[in-house]
């Protein structure tokens, strides 16, 4: 066992701190090549990660980089630097700790390259940049350990894929490198362990007592549909007054804004309550974070932006508004209310509508049963690999055989074949086009067997584009006449606004005035209902685990655990029609309001149900049933049209659906959006920087044009293959449709009914109705153009 330096052990003793068992375990495992520590929030996880390094460095370490710490959040690195500084300085250790992120000054970054600290705290993006320099081997010479914090979060995104490729690179530079991963509770520790390294020891800390979690009881029952949870505001305010600090989580930023606005109106006691989400300006977010740390806030309305990060000391209640969609994320969120280690976290679930009552119950059952969800992510994405190859070339010439061997040591790329690797290499070198007419299409060249940049000056451009986070094209929002910045909205949202439209941002209703110099100018309009409220609508789909549990709940003979209003609703459905079950696909068909309706209870999650809506209405169109539109939720798809469906089996054959996907997918906006991200990550096109876009005359053009061109002239191109893969497992989520069809087998049960059923009724209130494509869009444009011309007196 590695011992702590006496000075540090004394300092701990003087503070009256005793190390937790898992912290001692980490010291004991210090020599293992890789260790994954799974521990709850508040368990001193980060310190546990650093203890072996502090022990090895001792009081007077030799110069040179010893340990690299990587975190998904910039804010976290600064926080860790302060927290680590306390014991190091307290014990008088001569250990230098510095952070390096996008916010670090140029001079500081230069100095760090020449004279690295003992412990460097950074992010995957800054590490990518550091590794792309020619002097990377010198900077990282002698590095002993890499610590990856919040590895469970990184492992779910391309940032994690990129990071493990970089660690494979570091390992080649220093074969003795040891790895530590720090994780919250996850469903599949061995999979995460393989993500970290080929041979990993797993340490699971005592998870602590079970959380104290329940559904919030309200006087008014939740509404039939919608996602705001605003009906529960009085009950929520009541809880806020009874606790020290409450985090109120929402699933989307738009919902958080709407909720915060109404909460503020109801907040007659003037409790200090803040709002925090990713579309707010940095100033706004930092103000809330500081107030939070200072204990000045009683509640914060937030989104996933507070899922990770600093432990807010005094949070003693977490409220989740809206169905959690995913049990693992719920458990991690609950962990945010852990003001004392070994005290149970307290959390309340607030279903936003009647259906979500059942989902919340399913989530509670899952938490109590300690089951977590998680869909395997599939093999490492190849666009990330393309970027990694380019970044490697920036640091110096490489041998393809060696790089391939190195890449396949990274967990997500373990199954990568050599032809797949070679296709990525060819793409980075020549563009990988079927038309090989030009010798000028060369970014990389091979000389004496080694690959290198044809033009070393290209390195600067490649470095500028490193990283796998693709920002949506956002525009800043500020008050008119150079007023305060409020936040950002997506460019697409800004384009949909006309002067006079009102929307919510940073908890205020603002009126859109103009678009100037890439900034949305607004003015305050007190007390009016926002006309447009939706922006940045990231929507998570309900996990398979939760959907399955909901179907299980439906099979109960009665529902003593559910609130009476919900139990009655389900009983009525059972009387009138039947409840969906796991072994068949229930379809309901009924006339309503002069239209024929079909409800598909697929329980496949929002994205898959949406795809199903598109594919099935396409098919109905071909059968001459004249579908007019559809709407999808996590549980069901409702279609409407002129004629009823009488023979449903052909609509749901896997083959038919796949054919539909083939013909429909390629022209779809989801594909173009996915292509854009892939094209940026793989290095085909450059990121658009604010500065460059400001310059007026655009040298760049829409990536849609490249997508259309490739589709027409080079349909088998690598980037189109990657785009397809990404879209299928992402927004289109066809795998969930396949899984659903496998689950139900040939049992497609169409019930013909006289009227709307209780279970179908809420679908009629769903807002995002999608018209079936056809002449619709054209006609809309024509009538709008006419209206504009008439308004201008030009018709």
């Amino acid at each position: 066992m590695t011992n702590l330096p006496p000075a540090l052990a004394d300092w701990f003793a003087a503070k009256g701190w005793a190390l937790h068992p898992h912290q001692l375990d980490m010291l004991a495992k210090a020599q293992d090549p890789a260790t994954l520590l799974i521990a709850p929030t508040g368990g001193g996880k980060t310190l546990a990660g650093f203890l072996p390094t502090l022990a090895e460095l001792g009081p007077n370490p030799a110069p040179g980089l010893h340990t690299l710490y990587v975190s998904p959040l910039k804010a976290l690195t600064a926080d860790i630097r302060r927290n680590l500084g306390t014991p190091i300085e307290g014990a008088g250790l001569k250990i230098r700790v510095e952070d390096r992120t996008g916010d670090t000054s140029y001079t500081q970054r230069r100095r760090q390259r020449a004279d690295p600290p003992h412990i460097l705290l950074t992010t995957p993006e800054s590490l990518a940049l550091l590794l792309s320099y020619e002097d990377a081997p010198r900077i990282f010479q002698g590095i002993q350990r890499v610590i990856i914090d919040e590895i469970h979060a990184l492992a779910e995104s391309k940032r994690g894929d990129q990071l493990v490729l970089q660690i494979a690179r570091l390992q080649s530079l220093n074969p003795g490198l040891r790895r530590i991963g720090l994780s919250a509770t996850v469903e599949n520790p061995p999979a995460l362990a393989r993500f970290l390294a080929p041979e990993t020891t797993i340490l699971e800390a005592d998870p602590g007592p079970d959380p104290d979690i329940s559904m919030l009881e309200t006087e008014a029952p939740p509404p039939w549909s919608g996602g705001g949870g605003r009906y529960a505001i009085p009950a929520i305010l009541n809880e806020v007054t009874r606790h020290q600090t409450t985090l109120i989580f929402h699933n989307t930023r738009a919902q958080a804004e709407l909720f915060f606005h109404d909460l503020w109106l109801a907040n007659t006691e003037d409790l200090p309550i803040g709002i925090h989400h990713g579309s707010l300006s940095r100033e706004q977010r930092e103000r809330v974070e500081h107030a939070m740390t200072a204990g000045a806030l009683r509640a914060v309305v937030c989104t996933g932006s507070l899922d990770l990060g600093i432990d807010w000391g005094d949070v003693d209640l977490v409220i989740q508004v809206g169905a959690p969609k995913n049990v693992k994320r719920l458990v991690q969120r609950i962990g945010r209310a852990n003001h004392r280690y070994n005290a149970p976290s307290k959390a309340l679930l607030v279903p936003a509508n009647r259906f979500e009552v059942v989902e919340c119950q399913a989530a509670l059952d899952a938490v109590h049963a300690h089951t977590l969800d998680g869909e395997p992510r599939g093999p490492g994405p190849r666009d990330v690999l393309c970027q990694h190859i380019l970044a490697t070339a920036c640091s110096g010439p490489f041998d393809a055989d060696q790089l391939y061997a190195e890449v396949t040591t990274a967990g997500p790329y373990a199954a990568l074949t050599r032809p797949e690797f070679d296709a990525c290499l060819d793409f980075t070198a020549t563009g990988g086009y079927a038309l090989k007419a030009y010798d000028r299409w060369q970014r990389l060249k091979q000389t004496h067997g080694n690959w290198h940049l044809r033009d070393p000056r290209a390195a600067a451009l490649i470095r500028q584009n490193l990283g796998t986070i693709i920002d949506t094209e956002n525009l800043k929002v500020r008050l008119r006449n150079h007023g305060a910045p409020l936040g950002e909205v997506e460019e697409g949202f800004a384009a949909s606004l006309t002067p006079g439209d009102t929307f919510l941002i940073a908890g205020q209703i603002v009126r859109y005035e103009s678009l100037r110099e890439m900034t949305v100018e607004v003015s305050k309009t007190p007390g009016r209902d926002p006309k447009v409220a939706v922006f940045n609508g990231t929507k998570f789909a309900t996990s398979t685990l939760l959907a399955d549990r909901i179907l299980e709940i439906f099979q109960q003979p009665s529902w003593p655990d559910l609130p009476a209003h919900t139990a009655q609703w389900l009983s009525l459905q059972r009387e009138v029609s039947r409840l969906p079950d796991p072994h068949s696909l229930l379809l309901e068909s009924f006339p309503h309001d002069g239209r024929e309706h079909l409800v598909i209870y697929g329980f496949a999650g929002r994205n898959a149900q949406q795809t199903l809506g598109l594919l099935v209405t396409k098919q109905m169109e071909q059968q001459g049933l004249a579908p007019l539109g559809f709407v999808a939720t996590d549980y069901a798809t409702l279609t409407w049209g002129l004629d009823p469906v009488t023979d449903p089996a052909p609509l749901f054959s896997l083959e038919t659906l796949r054919d539909g996907l083939e013909s429909w997918l390629s022209g779809n906006a989801v594909m173009k959006r996915t292509f854009r991200d892939t094209a940026i990550i793989s290095g085909l096109i450059e990121r658009s920087h604010q500065g460059r876009r400001k310059s007026g005359r655009q040298a760049t053009f829409s990536s849609d044009i490249l997508y259309d061109t490739l589709k027409k002239y080079d349909p088998d191109h690598l980037l189109l293959q990657i785009t397809r893969e990404e879209a299928l497992r992402g927004l289109i989520d066809f795998s969930r449709i396949e899984a659903m069809l496998a689950r139900v087998g040939p049992n497609i049960d169409l019930k013909r009914l006289k009227r709307v059923t209780p279970l179908a009724a809420p679908l009629f209130f769903e807002p995002s109705r999608i018209p079936v494509q056809g002449e619709g869009r054209d006609r809309l444009a024509v009538s709008q153009a006419q209206a504009l011309m008439e308004a201008a007196g030009l018709a």
């Binding site: 020549t430 563009g431 086009y433 038309l435 007419a437 030009y438 000028r440 299409w441 060369q442 970014r443 044809r454 033009d455 000056r457 290209a458 451009l461 697409g492 384009a495 949909s496 678009l515 290095g683 085909l684 096109i685 450059e686 007026g696 005359r697 655009q698 040298a699 760049t700 053009f701 829409s702 044009i705 490249l706 061109t709 490739l710 027409k712 002239y713 080079d714 191109h717 869009r777 054209d778 809309l780 444009a781 024509v782 709008q784 153009a785 504009l788 011309m789 201008a792 030009l794």
Partner: protein, 215 residues
């Protein structure tokens, strides 16, 4: 369907593709083809874009010439992405251009990307007078009855942004015809300064639609 614009006593057809057809003079005008753009970027060590835009742009032009049976063609400048682009263009594309030019009165107007003569047939000019119009690359604020290109104007309708023509009583600015071209929103001061208050934006696309120019 094209949009018919009555401009200085003449009827001009603004086509879905972004070309301008002047039926009375059997003339077709196109602007900012930017042929060889991907080749130029690759040559300069930039990104390696799909090398198909010359082919795609020529296909478009071929279709429009076939459809209009134009006998006179005016390319309003920036026809090539730079002066060296023609050398980098594949032989098949060069032959294709030659075939399109055969039997037609063809004028290459110089642009800022292709400021000198190009090693192809046709007439090379800084500007062309074809009564009552003057064709040039960059609009001259002092001129009237002028048809120009250069700015790649675009505008949005019903949430979709499209390349567009801009027209007022004095001038007509054409959209970029080349496949790999970006656009400048009609809101930009360079365009609002040039165009009169009552200017129209005529959006390209399957249905050519006119709206008041968004400012």
């Amino acid at each position: 369907m094209h949009h018919a614009l009555f401009f200085h006593g003449e009827t001009l057809h603004l086509m879905p593709s972004g070309a301008l057809h002047w039926p009375a003079r059997k003339t077709l005008a196109v602007s900012d083809l930017h042929l060889g753009k991907s080749e130029r970027l690759a040559r300069r060590g930039g990104t390696l874009l799909p090398p198909y835009e010359t082919q795609a742009t020529l296909e478009k032009l071929d279709r429009d010439l076939e459809h209009t049976r134009a006998e006179t063609v005016i390319c309003l400048g920036d026809s090539f992405d730079d002066l060296a682009a023609l050398d980098g263009i594949e032989e098949t594309s060069r032959l294709w251009i030659t075939r399109l030019m055969a039997g037609r009165d063809w004028t290459w107007i110089t642009g800022n990307h292709d400021p000198g003569p190009i090693d192809l047939g046709g007439t090379h000019r800084a500007e062309l007078k074809l009564q009552p119009f003057t064709f040039r690359h960059i609009a001259d604020p002092a001129d009237r009855a002028e048809i120009s290109g250069h700015y790649h104007p675009k505008a949005s309708l019903a949430g979709q942004s499209k390349p567009c023509f801009l027209a007022d009583a004095s001038r007509l600015i054409m959209p970029a015809y080349g496949v790999y071209t970006g656009g400048l929103r009609s809101h930009h001061s360079a365009l609002t300064a040039l165009m009169a208050k009552d200017a129209l934006a005529i959006l390209t696309g399957p249905r050519v639609l006119a709206i008041p120019m968004p400012k």
